[in-house]
């Protein structure tokens, strides 16, 4: 038994019939082909699947597609505008805030959310603020630097 859902993803309205158990992350990846959002675990620990739902960072593996009915979702693909990187994306590039890149889309969405709530985070604020996202490559040092760089760019 499939259920109709209508979700606005990166500004475009998407309508589909989905299984009730379909996770939002699989809806994004498999149904819509937006594969920038990654799946790194099955217990909602890693944060690789983090997207924005109605302006807030959410792990899209914790949400059913049917729960997102009527919502506005932003994924990593929707962050850059007119080919120009979002300031957080740019800061991750500038500060070498990624290596293999698998956690990066979720990490960037998490960072955007953090900066929305705290535009001038201290080093410690950033380290705690991104705790919901795991990275195995960077030791987090340059991710922290990137988030703080983005904060200072946003202020400028």
């Amino acid at each position: 038994m499939k259920h109709p859902v209508s979700v606005t993803v990166n500004g475009a309205k998407q309508v589909a019939d989905v299984e009730p158990r379909l996770l939002l992350v699989h809806f994004l990846r498999d149904t819509l082909g937006l594969t920038g959002t990654n799946v790194g675990c099955d217990t909602s620990q890693c944060g690789a699947c983090t997207v924005f739902i109605d302006g807030q960072a959410v792990k899209s593996c914790t949400v059913l597609a049917v729960q997102a009915d009527g919502a506005k979702v932003t994924t990593i693909e929707g962050l850059a505008t007119n080919g120009k990187l979002h300031v957080v994306q740019q800061a991750f590039w500038d500060k070498h805030g990624l290596q293999c890149g698998f956690c990066t889309p979720g990490m960037i969405m998490t960072a955007c959310d953090l900066l929305q709530r705290n535009p001038d985070p201290s080093e410690e604020d950033v380290r705690h603020g991104i705790e919901g996202s795991l990275c195995r490559c960077t030791g987090y040092q340059n991710i922290v630097a990137a988030v703080r760089e983005a904060a200072s760019q946003m202020k400028a």
């Binding site: 299984e19 158990r21 379909l22 699989h26 990846r29 498999d30 082909g33 937006l34 594969t35 920038g36 959002t37 990654n38 799946v39 790194g40 675990c41 099955d42 217990t43 620990q45 890693c46 690789a48 994924t75 990593i76 693909e77 962050l79 850059a80 990187l85 994306q89 991750f92 590039w93 500038d94 070498h96 990624l98 290596q99 293999c100 890149g101 698998f102 956690c103 990066t104 889309p105 960037i108 080093e123 410690e124 950033v126 380290r127 705690h128 991104i130 705790e131 795991l134 990275c135 195995r136 490559c137 960077t138 030791g139 987090y140 040092q141 340059n142 991710i143 922290v144």
Partner: protein, 783 residues
């Protein structure tokens, strides 16, 4: 400008596709008609398979087929090969069927697999496969498995001992007789789960009409994968294409050739359509290799002045249930030969027993063998210092190999390339403010507070390595690298390399080398890797060899390009080739810099070939193979500073100082990133991480909820510095940097905690040093 690009921290060219979500990892690959595979895995650590009933699963919606190990076998799919059998070690290699047929030997062992139209249909059907098991006795501990009456895993492997290997240098028994002091320890270097953020996956596409198979795979070494797949599937190597698209980290766990490769290829062949398999994280914890898992009995013999005279050890290395691709080489060659560390230890003997247990197979995890060696040596040095009431720095200096530039042979037989260990140590001590820290420690101790300062001075073996040595130590492949450099008529460059980076940034590093050597713009160079059809043969990215060996091949090809360009320039300028010089992208007549051709001019003229000298072929393309004459031996000194709360056992990581030397640094930003990540993983082992099995073989740390992958707030900001001691092993003088942080940080941190707790009389605490364990150890010492 061109010459300055080498050594410059330019931004990575890999990143725009990664920060925008445009990169394509294996699970992002979608092909027409693609279907999904799911694997049925054993819930038992050890059991006989009595019956597999696939009827219910086969009748479920969307299911295309349910397959067993027997069917794979009948189709000619052989056991998963072990590619490293260490000579002189009586290694036994029991068959490793990709899907178990009679007996399962670890939880997660595949017993059947299902293919269906949808991802969740495949998963549902896998759950409906009805397998009856007869549980068998289980053993998970690498020492207990060797004891009388232990459950036996394989026929023909008595006491589960896969091999006994030893390394001997000097006369260790005589050394121990002459010693004035002996310190001993029983070290458990615990089992770890690699946790690359991208789980494994495969997409297999078989074309019946041509017999060709394409496998998109989360591999660190597509060429090795192709070779091994040809051996166990019977598909000829020239019909196999392996593509490593974007790969989300590996840390060794994506070196092996895995059973799921065979299953996906088999299913694609039977169904004649593309088949995708994507590992879940919980599946990853059981089905992807683990690392470390040593039990070590160690003794260090010394004189009262701190001079070390001998090291003797016995190691039980848990290999898991089957031999994974490189597993036997890790606790032997990459471990036992490194027991001299950075010290003059004239007499060394180690016995290593490789042991089968009912656990996930163990193979290379970042550092692979060297962390187990370095931890052992660095721990023993500190125990000796404690015993002699000497400063651990003094003991290190007393025994340290002095600076050398032309090789230094240690008792295990290895010849280190170059080293200046004192240089790195002095720098680290200065950065830490060591003397001041010791004073602070004394003051705090007087107040009942516990500050600890821990050191690790290390050297490691990487840049694997000379192929002749690979053959001599039983590695079933070569360890050279290759590169093709192709100049187009417009002067732009394509480079194809055999290595297969997956986060290390060699697209950037290698472009810097090309730009620096030939004066082209760095953005005029494209680096291609990770596809056996597009790239020349290479042995992959692991063992910190990508740049150390790969750049040698690249430099060889660039030299050939330069030589040809000189010949063509001489012809065009009507000069003798001996009179042509090169600088900053220009080939010119010596003494007349005005008479010159740029590399772009030469590329055009070579490609149009209107005016070539006699005997010179058209085109500007070169291919080179590089087999290094030795391994490389990066080194450094790390210092950890911790505070331990004696009431709660909680450890607070105050500072972490790392001085590393990887020879010539091509991109300091990337090098620092490698060190950061390595330190985090090594600290993870010391403080939080550990794979835990219960006595029934259940993996208790079986999901990311239960296994502590470190988070950002766990770490302070690491303080880094480099020294630069070039090697002569490759043209640029580079050493590997991928694993140093992991190798150095575990002992540095452990030594810091031991140092903090020394006044309380705390003896060995097993890692990870969780607050509970530290608290118990303190309580025990006090009572």
């Amino acid at each position: 400008m061109a010459s300055r690009i080498l050594g410059s921290g330019i931004k990575r060219r890999e990143d725009p596709r990664l920060v925008t979500g445009q990169a394509k990892y294996t699970d992002d690959i979608v092909l027409p008609g693609m279907v999904y595979m799911s694997v049925v895995r054993s819930p038992y650590g050890h059991a006989r398979i009595k019956r597999i009933d696939t009827k219910k699963a086969a009748a479920m919606p969307g299911v295309l087929g349910v397959y067993t190990g027997q069917q794979l076998k009948e189709a000619g799919f052989g056991p998963i090969p072990c590619a490293w059998v260490v000579p002189g070690s009586d290694t036994k290699t029991p068959p490793y069927p990709p899907v178990a047929i009679d007996i399962v030997r670890y939880t997660g062992n595949a017993v059947a697999f299902v293919v269906a139209h949808g991802r969740s249909q495949a998963r549902d059907a896998a759950d409906a496969v009805d397998v009856s098991y007869e549980p068998l006795p289980v053993v998970v501990d690498g020492f207990k498995a060797t004891q009388p009456k232990a459950p036996q895993l394989h026929d023909g492997v008595p006491n589960n001992v896969c091999f006994h290997w030893h390394v001997t240098g000097g006369d260790v028994d005589a050394a121990f007789k002459s010693a004035e002091v002996i310190v001993k320890d029983h070290i458990i270097n615990q089992r770890l789960i690699p946790n690359a953020m991208e789980p494994r996956g495969a997409v297999a596409q078989y074309l019946g009409a041509t017999g060709e198979i394409t496998l998109w795979s989360t591999t660190q070494n597509p060429h090795i994968a192709r070779f091994l797949i040809s051996l166990d599937t019977g598909i000829p190597e020239q019909k196999i294409r392996v593509i490593a698209p974007e790969v989300g980290g590996g840390f060794g766990s994506k070196i092996p050739h895995y059973p799921e490769d065979s299953m996906a290829i088999f299913a694609s062949k039977i169904l004649n359509r593309p088949v995708k398999w994507t590992e879940s994280r919980s599946e990853n914890y059981r089905a992807t290799i683990h690392g470390r898992d040593h039990i070590q009995d160690v003794e260090l013999a010394a004189m009262k002045d701190g001079t070390i005279v001998g090291l003797r050890a016995k190691v039980w290395a848990n290999l898991g249930a089957y031999l994974s691709t490189a597993s036997t080489g890790i606790p032997t060659i990459l471990h036992g030969l490194m027991l001299s560390g950075v010290y003059k230890i004239p007499n060394i003997h180690e016995d290593v027993y490789g042991v089968f247990t009912n656990t996930t197979p163990v193979d290379a995890y970042r550092g692979a063998g060297r962390p187990e060696a370095t931890f052992m040596v660095e721990r023993m040095i500190d125990l000796l210092a404690h015993e002699l009431k000497m400063d651990p720095v003094a003991v290190r200096r007393k025994n340290m190999i002095p600076p050398f530039t032309d090789g230094y042979q240690v008792a295990t037989g290895l010849t280190y390339d170059t080293g200046n260990y004192e240089g790195a140590l002095a720098k680290a001590l200065e950065m830490a403010g060591y003397e001041k820290l010791r004073k602070q420690q004394a003051e705090m101790r007087a107040k009942g507070q516990y500050l600890g300062i821990g050191l690790c001075t290390y050297a490691e073996i990487c840049g694997l390595g000379p192929s002749q040595v690979a053959g001599a130590v039983g590695f079933g492949g070569g360890l050279w690298e290759s590169a093709i450099v192709r100049f187009h008529p417009s002067g732009k460059v394509n480079v194809m390399v055999g290595i297969s980076p997956h986060g290390q940034g060699e697209e950037t590093t290698f472009a810097q080398i090309v730009a620096s050597e030939l004066g082209v713009g760095v953005d005029d160079v494209e680096i291609t890797h990770g596809d056996t059809e597009k790239t020349p043969m290479g042995w992959g990215t692991y063992g910190s060899r990508g740049t150390a060996v790969g750049s040698g091949a690249l430099m060889g090809a660039l030299k050939k390009i330069k030589d040809k360009a000189k010949t063509l320039t001489a012809h065009l300028l009507e000069a003798s080739v001996d009179d042509i010089d090169y600088a900053d992208g220009k080939f010119f007549v010596k003494g007349s810099p005005g008479k010159s051709k740029s590399i772009q001019d030469v590329a055009l003229m070579a490609n149009v070939a209107w005016n070539m000298p006699a005997g010179l072929e058209p085109g500007l393309e070169a291919s080179s193979f590089f087999d290094p004459p030795n391994f490389v031996y990066p080194f450094g000194a790390h210092i950890a500073v911790v505070k331990v709360d004696a009431e709660t056992g909680e450890i607070s990581l105050e500072r972490y100082i790392a001085v590393d030397d990887c020879g010539k640094v091509i991109n300091p930003m990337i090098v620092a990133g490698q060190i950061h990540g390595g330190i985090a993983q090594g600290l993870g082992q010391a403080l939080w991480e550990g794979a835990v099995y219960d006595d029934d073989g259940q993996l208790l740390s079986g999901s990311m909820m239960d296994y502590a992958v470190p988070k950002a707030a766990f770490f302070p900001k690491f303080e880094l510095a480099m020294t630069e001691t070039l090697t002569k092993v490759n043209p640029l003088g580079v050493k590997g940097i991928g694993e140093t942080g992991t190798i150095a940080s575990t002992p540095a941190l452990y030594n810091a905690v031991a140092d903090a707790l020394a006044p309380l009389g705390v003896k060995t605490i097993n890692m990870p040093l969780t607050p509970e364990r530290v608290w118990r150890a303190i309580r025990e010492a006090r009572s």
